[in-house]
C-alpha cells in the first residue's frame, strides 16, 4: 500500500496546493538555484554596492549570452542520455566559416547560414555516428571536437580573421531599447528552447529516450531519429553562437571556445541535468550559467586575488551542488519509502 506522499515539515493544513505545486517547485533544482542566485546578487550588492548597476549587469549578460545558446543544445544532448563535447570547437568553426564567407563578400544572411550550416553538418555527423555506427557519444563528439578544431585551424592557418563588414556587427554589438541585441537573441533562443523542451511533442521524445532507451523504442519512438536531431541541433546552436561571437568581437579566432564544452556541461548539471539522461530543463541550464557567471563576477568585484579565484570558484560550485544533492536526499529519506 503506497501511502500518500507528504512532507514532514509541512503542516497538513497547508492544503493540496502547497503540497502539490510549491512542493514540486521546492524539489526542483531550478528553485534552489534561483534562491542562491538572488542571494548572491543581494549579497554582492550589499557588500560592493556595484553589483546591480546597468553596466555590470550588461557585462554579465554579454558574458554568457553565447554560452546560453549552446546550453540549449547541450541540454537536449544530456537529456537524451549523451553529451556533446564538440560544442567548443564547432563554436569556433561556425565563426570561422562565417568570417571566411563575409570576407569573400558573400551577403551577410548567406554567410550566417553558411556558418550555422557548418555546425549542422558537424552535428549531423555526430548523430549518424552515434546512432548508425553505434560509437558512444563520448568518443564520437571527442573526435568531432578535434575535427572541427582542426578544420578551423587549417582553413585559417591558425590566424585570426578580421576585416568583417561593419553592418555585420549589429548582432553582437547593437542594442535594442538599450538591451544588447546579443542578449535579446540568446534570451529568445533559451525561452523558445525551454518551451519546446517542456511542451513540444517532438522534444518530449528526448526525455523518453534518455529515460530508458529500450523502453522508448518499444513505446514506438524512433530513437535514432531523436538522437540525430538532438546532435544536429546542438551543432547548429553552437555554430550560431560562434557566428554571433565573431559579430561581438569583430574577429574570428580559430582557437576560441577551448574548454567551453566543460563549462557548458557543468552549467547544465548545476541546473539539474543528469549525466544519466532523462532529466533537465533549458532554464535550469541557464540558471546554472547565471550562477557561475555571478560567482565569477562576484569574485572580481569582491577583489579576491586572481590566484584564489579558481580555487574559490571550485569550492563554491561543489558546495552548491553538494548542498542541493544532499538536501534532496534528506528530503527523500524523510519522506521515506516503504518497499514491500
Amino acid at each position: 500500500m503506497e501511502k500518500a506522499t507528504t512532507f514532514s515539515d509541512m503542516p497538513p493544513a497547508s492544503g493540496s496546493f502547497t503540497r502539490g505545486f510549491l512542493g514540486r517547485l521546492a524539489r526542483q533544482r531550478e528553485f534552489t538555484l534561483i534562491v542562491m542566485i538572488v542571494m548572491i546578487g543581494l549579497a554582492l550588492q550589499l557588500i560592493t554596492g556595484r553589483f546591480f548597476t546597468v553596466p555590470n549587469l550588461n557585462a554579465i549578460l554579454l558574458g554568457f549570452a553565447t554560452s546560453a545558446i549552446i546550453v540549449v543544445g547541450m541540454t537536449g544532448a544530456l537529456v537524451s542520455g549523451g553529451f556533446d563535447l564538440s560544442v567548443g570547437s564547432v563554436f569556433a568553426m561556425g565563426g570561422v566559416t562565417a568570417a571566411i564567407a563575409l570576407r569573400a563578400d558573400v551577403p551577410i544572411p548567406l554567410s550566417i547560414i553558411l556558418g550555422v550550416g557548418a555546425g549542422v553538418l558537424a552535428g549531423l555527423v555526430n548523430g549518424l555516428l552515434i546512432t548508425k555506427v553505434q560509437i558512444n557519444p563520448f568518443i564520437t563528439t571527442l573526435g568531432m571536437m578535434g575535427i572541427a578544431r582542426g578544420i578551423s585551424l587549417a582553413v585559417t592557418e591558425g590566424t585570426t580573421l578580421a576585416g568583417l563588414p561593419s553592418e555585420f556587427y549589429v548582432y553582437g554589438q547593437g542594442k535594442t531599447f538599450d538591451i544588447p541585441n546579443l542578449v535579446l537573441i540568446a534570451l529568445s533562443i533559451v525561452l523558445i528552447g525551454d518551451f519546446l523542451m517542456r511542451r513540444s511533442s517532438s522534444f518530449r521524445q528526448i526525455y523518453y529516450v534518455g529515460g530508458n532507451e529500450e523502453a522508448a523504442r518499444l513505446s514506438g519512438i524512433n530513437v535514432d531519429r531523436v538522437k540525430i536531431a538532438v546532435y544536429t541541433l546542438s551543432g547548429l546552436l553552437a555554430a550560431l553562437a560562434g557566428v554571433l561571437s565573431i559579430s561581438r568581437f569583430t574577429v574570428a579566432d580559430p582557437g576560441t571556445g577551448m574548454g567551453e564544452e566543460l563549462r557548458i556541461i557543468a552549467a547544465c548539471i548545476i541546473g539539474g541535468c543528469s549525466l544519466r539522461g532523462g532529466k533537465g530543463t533549458v532554464i535550469g541550464g541557464l540558471f546554472g550559467l547565471i550562477f557561475v557567471g555571478f560567482i565569477n563576477n562576484g569574485l572580481i568585484l569582491l577583489r579576491v586575488p586572481v590566484y584564489w579565484q579558481q580555487l574559490s570558484m571550485g569550492v563554491v560550485l561543489l558546495l552548491a551542488v553538494g548542498f542541493d544533492t544532499l538536501s534532496q536526499r534528506w528530503q527523500l529519506r524523510s519522506r521515506g519509502q516503504k518497499a514491500g
Binding site: S200, R204, G211, G278
Partner: protein
C-alpha cells in the same frame, strides 16, 4: 526450546506511512519460517530491520536469548544474521571466490592474496552446498540461480545462524527452484533458521514449517503450515475474500484477428504459424529460452522477421518497427519491467503517455490537460495506488508499476496485445486484478497473446495454449484438454507415457 531470533513489538514509521506497527516474529533453530503479505505489507522493512539495514523506532530483537542491536548490516552479519536480497549484491566482474570472502581474503606476509588457498576455501564452501560452480570464474558469468548460491555460500562461510531470503526464486527456473528448496531444507536440518519471503504460495506450502502473515504493516497471524489452506493465507494477506484468482474464460471465440504464416525470425530455423481470434487469450507456454519472447518481439517489430507473412484483420501487414506495430494496433508489454518497460525516474503520467505522445498533443504541442486526463483515467480504471499522477514511477510498488505499464498499452487502443510475463514479481492482489483486466479487454474483442512461465497462470487464463520448444511450436491444447503435466512434457520434449 529457545527461539533463535525473536522480534517483539517492532514499529517503524516513515513520514506519512506506518511501515510496521507492533509486529512480532519468532524463528526457531532449524525452522523455515515464511513471511508473506502483499507488496507494501512491510515484509521487506521487517527483514531490513532484522538484518541491521534499518533500525526500529520501538521494539526489541533477541538473538539466542540475548537482546541485540545492530549498528549496520555488517554488524548483523558478523553476529550471525545474513540477508540475500532480490537484487543480488555481488560484484559481477570479480571471481566467485572473491565474492564469497570479500574483505577477508587469505593473504601472505606481503599482503598479497593467496589465490590457491582462496580457491580451495571457496571450493569447500560450494561443495558443502552441492553446488557445481568453479570458484575461479567471474560471478557475472553465472546464472542467477548460481549467483544466489554464491550469496548463500558467502553467508554460510561466516557461520551464519539466520538466513533471510527475499523472493529467492522469482528469477529461477522450476528445476533451479527445486534444487534451491532442497538445499534450504538441508540447511534447516543442520540447524540454520531461515526466514523466507515469497509470493509463491505453492512454494511456501511445500517448504515452510510456519508462516507469518503481515498486512499494511500489521501482524495478522502465524500458523503452522500443516492444517492451513492456501485460500486462508490469501484471505489473511488481502484482508478480504479474493474469490477466484482467474476470471471466467470466454464463452465464444470470434473471427480470426491475426494470422501468422511461416514466420521465421533471425537466428532461428523454425517457421511458425498460428492464428489469434478476436476476444481470445492465447497462452504461450515453454521453458525459459524456448523462443517465446523472441517471437513476441518479432511480431511487434522489435526484432527482424526474415520470412513469412503476418495478416491482420484480413490484410497483409509489414511490422517493420515498434512504431509501425503501434500504428497497426499491436502492443507489447515486455517481460523485464525495469529494463524495457518503465521510465523509472519519470512520473506515472509520463509513463502512461509514452505510447501516445501524438494523441495527447495538438498542433505539435503536448496538451497538459489531455495528458493528465489520460493518466487520471488510467489510475481510476486500473485502480493504481499512487499519491498523485506526478509520482515518480520507481516509487510505486511492483504491482502498481505493472498496472501503469498495462495502462500505457491500453492507451493505444490495441487490437492485439502481447503480454510477456504480465504478473512476474507482483503480489497476489495485483495479479488477480491484471488477470481480470486482460479478460475484460479480451471481451471487447482484443486478441491477447500471453507469455507466462507460471503454469497455473497459463492454465487459468488461456482459452488456448501453444507450447514452444527451441524456437518452434510443438503442441497446441484447448483450455479443456490442457494440464500442467501435458504442457511440461511438451515443453521439455519428453514423450508421454
Amino acid at each position: 526450546m529457545q527461539p533463535l531470533l525473536k522480534a517483539s513489538g517492532i514499529s517503524k514509521q516513515f513520514p506519512g506511512t506506518q511501515a510496521l506497527d507492533n509486529v512480532s516474529l519468532e524463528l526457531m533453530p532449524g525452522e523455515i519460517h515464511a513471511v508473506i503479505g502483499e507488496n507494501g505489507a512491510g515484509k521487506s522493512t521487517l527483514m531490513k530491520i532484522l538484518a541491521g539495514v534499518l533500525s526500529p523506532d520501538s521494539g526489541t530483537i533477541e538473538f539466542e536469548g540475548k537482546p541485540v542491536t545492530f549498528l549496520n548490516p555488517h554488524d548483523a552479519l558478523m553476529k550471525g544474521i545474513a540477508i540475500v536480497y532480490q537484487e543480488l549484491s555481488l560484484v559481477p566482474p570479480l571471481t566467485v571466490a572473491e565474492n564469497i570472502f570479500p574483505g577477508r581474503l587469505p593473504t601472505n606476509f606481503l599482503g598479497m592474496v593467496r589465490y590457491g588457498a582462496l580457491f580451495r576455501d571457496a571450493k569447500q564452501v560450494l561443495d558443502n552446498l552441492n553446488a557445481n560452480i568453479d570458484p575461479r570464474v567471474p560471478v557475472e558469468m553465472l546464472s542467477i540461480a548460481n549467483q544466489q548460491l554464491v550469496e548463500i555460500g558467502k553467508a554460510l562461510s561466516l557461520n551464519c545462524k539466520v538466513l533471510i531470503l527475499d523472493e529467492p526464486t522469482s528469477a529461477l527456473t522450476d528445476h533451479e527452484t527445486e534444487l534451491l528448496l532442497k538445499l534450504l531444507r538441508r540447511l534447516a536440518n543442520e540447524g540454520v533458521g531461515i526466514l523466507y519471503i515469497s509470493h509463491k504460495l505453492n512454494e511456501i506450502m511445500s517448504l515452510a514449517d510456519r508462516v507469518t502473515v503481515l498486512r499494511d504493516g500489521k501482524y495478522v497471524g502465524t500458523d503452522s503450515i500443516k492444517g492451513v489452506h492456501p485460500d486462508d493465507l490469501i484471505r489473511m494477506m488481502v484482508g478480504r475474500d479474493l474469490g477466484v484468482l482467474f476470471p471466467q474464460k470466454s464463452k465464444q471465440i470470434g473471427t480470426p484477428l491475426l494470422e501468422v504464416k511461416n514466420v521465421r525470425i533471425a537466428g532461428s530455423d523454425a517457421k511458425n504459424s498460428f492464428r489469434l481470434y478476436h476476444g481470445e487469450v492465447l497462452g504461450l507456454a515453454g521453458l525459459i529460452g524456448s523462443g517465446r519472447t523472441e517471437l513476441a518481439r518479432a511480431l511487434f517489430g522489435a526484432e527482424p522477421i526474415v520470412e513469412g507473412e503476418i495478416i491482420l484483420n484480413g490484410e497483409e501487414v509489414k511490422v517493420t518497427s515498434p512504431k509501425r506495430a503501434i500504428e497497426l494496433g499491436i502492443g507489447y508489454l515486455p517481460e523485464d519491467r525495469k529494463a524495457a518497460g518503465l521510465f523509472l525516474e519519470m512520473s506515472l503520467k509520463l509513463n502512461v503517455a509514452a505510447t501516445v505522445i501524438d494523441e495527447v498533443s495538438s498542433g505539435g504541442f503536448v496538451v497538459g490537460s489531455k495528458e493528465r486526463k489520460l493518466a487520471e483515467e488510467a489510475v481510476q480504471q486500473l485502480d493504481i495506488s499512487t499519491p498523485t499522477i506526478e509520482q515518480e514511477i520507481r516509487r510505486l510498488s511492483g504491482g502498481n508499476q505493472q498496472k501503469a505499464l498495462v495502462a500505457k498499452w491500453l492507451a493505444i487502443k490495441p487490437k492485439v496485445l502481447i503480454v510477456d510475463e504480465p504478473t512476474r514479481g507482483i503480489d497476489v492482489g495485483a495479479k488477480r486484478e491484471i488477470h481480470f483486466l486482460l479478460r475484460t479487454l479480451a471481451e471487447t474483442g482484443v486478441g491477447i497473446i500471453m507469455i507466462s512461465s507460471e503454469l497455473p497462470e497459463v492454465l487459468g487464463m488461456s482459452d488456448r495454449i501453444l507450447v514452444m520448444r527451441e524456437g518452434a511450436f510443438v503442441a497446441e491444447y484447448s483450455s479443456s484438454e490442457a494440464t500442467e503435466e501435458k504442457i511440461i512434457r511438451s515443453a521439455s520434449g519428453q514423450k508421454s507415457e
